[in-house]
Assembly symmetry: C2
Homo-oligomer: 253 residues x 2
């Protein structure tokens, strides 16, 4: 099977091919599928989960806030994950250490241009990463009660929130919303914001201990507060790009 760089246009009826080496005819209908990726970039700001949106450059919905997304470029992208990384980097300047496939959304109605599908990925970053990227056109909007999004982006965001909240109840996912270093009370507050309920301090610390993904930073304490300073922690090196699971939840009751 040889790879061709130039794409000859498909034959029409009057075309009489001389060399016939393609075993299977690709259905023409395939050409009408619009293939894109979208990224749900989430961060925690002012104690609420925020989604990063961008104003659309082009029609349809030019000027409307929407999820960062774009066409898959088979010539550039090794796969759809790579496409998502590229789109996110090009449109926001951000490279997220945590980027996971959410689901594929598809159908005739979701894009006015025609039958489309979008492979969606969600990313979690601390707000500093978004600021540091220096793309002021990135708009953060509270994730709950979000409205007015084009296409089916509303549903996509809802699915991402459900996934993140569910995963937060049994995994270490929320650490990706914290910066490089953080205290346990801070991490607990992040979990509580995501889960929408207070957590028991002892149980929470037991669970995090069980995950075995954090290490205290020798002698580093949080400064500047008028009370006992808290120990600073960071992700253990081998977990900087993964997440840890348990079979039991974190939630009270």
């Amino acid at each position: 099977m040889k790879a061709r760089k130039a794409e000859p246009p498909p034959c029409t009826e009057v075309c009489m091919p001389v060399i016939l080496s393609t075993p299977e005819p690709l259905p023409l209908a395939m050409n009408t599928i619009i293939c894109t990726v979208d990224v749900i970039l989430l961060t925690l700001l002012h104690d609420s989960l925020q989604v990063a949106l961008l104003r659309r450059d082009h029609e349809p919905f030019a000027g409307v806030l929407a999820l960062p997304g774009g066409y898959i470029h088979p010539d550039q992208d090794g796969d759809t994950q790579a496409a998502a990384v590229r789109v996110l980097r090009d449109k926001t300047g951000i490279v997220s250490p945590y980027l996971e496939q959410l689901a594929t959304f598809s159908g005739r109605g979701r894009d006015p241009r025609g039958w489309s599908l979008s492979i969606c990925y969600y990313a979690l970053v601390p707000p500093e990463v978004i600021e540091a990227a220096g793309h002021p056109e990135v708009v953060l909007v509270p994730a709950d009660g979000i409205a007015g999004l084009p296409f089916d982006h509303q549903q996509i965001v809802a699915a991402a929130l459900e996934r993140v909240r569910n995963k937060s109840s049994y995994s270490s996912l929320p650490v990706y919303l914290c910066g490089e270093t953080f205290t346990l009370p801070r991490l607990q507050a992040v979990y509580e914001t995501l889960l929408g309920e207070p957590l028991n301090k002892v149980s929470f610390r037991r669970k995090i201990e069980e995950f075995d993904i954090l290490e205290p930073i020798e002698g580093a304490l949080e400064t500047g507060k008028a009370h006992r300073p808290a120990q600073l922690y960071r992700l253990k090196a081998r977990y900087r790009n993964r997440l840890s699971l348990t079979d039991r939840g974190l939630s009270t009751g």
Copy 2:
């Protein structure tokens, strides 16, 4: 957008098309993406999880056992889920009450024809449904230690198994592997096969009770065994097409 019934073979280098009427300037790169769906149809036979495979009709890998799959037909399929339903029905005669999106697999290397993506769905059915469909070309193969599959179907099956096993540890998913009616000991055996470990009888029954998805069939007991007969159960009507979750696992230890 006109639909043509005959598919002329694609041109090769020596083919000089005379009529060129492509109307839309969709980005060229898009046209090179092969869009398919694949279905991982699982069942439980002889106390082991089996995957349904079919011999491929066409190149590439003609004659090789592979997952049932096919092109998305935007003119027929409302979305990719509908495409998966259609493909499964057309190729195996089966309509599964449980069909869920697994993930999308993509990239340059997975299909020798070029850059492709496949939105994969997994389905669970009792073996009777496969038999009743009367497509003898459907081959059941033990899911573990499966080998020799074309494309990246090996990875896809592995991902489906991981998903099903994981989901079995906290949901009622396995009921879809049982028939219309079944006993609790039978259901427990199904869970144990999937999870690969024995479960505590009392804990198991508590958990199923908690799911609140089953109802005993009045006066219906399993017959024909040389011991105390077990109560027959069925899914409550409102759950015939869904599944129930809890936050706690089923597994021992």
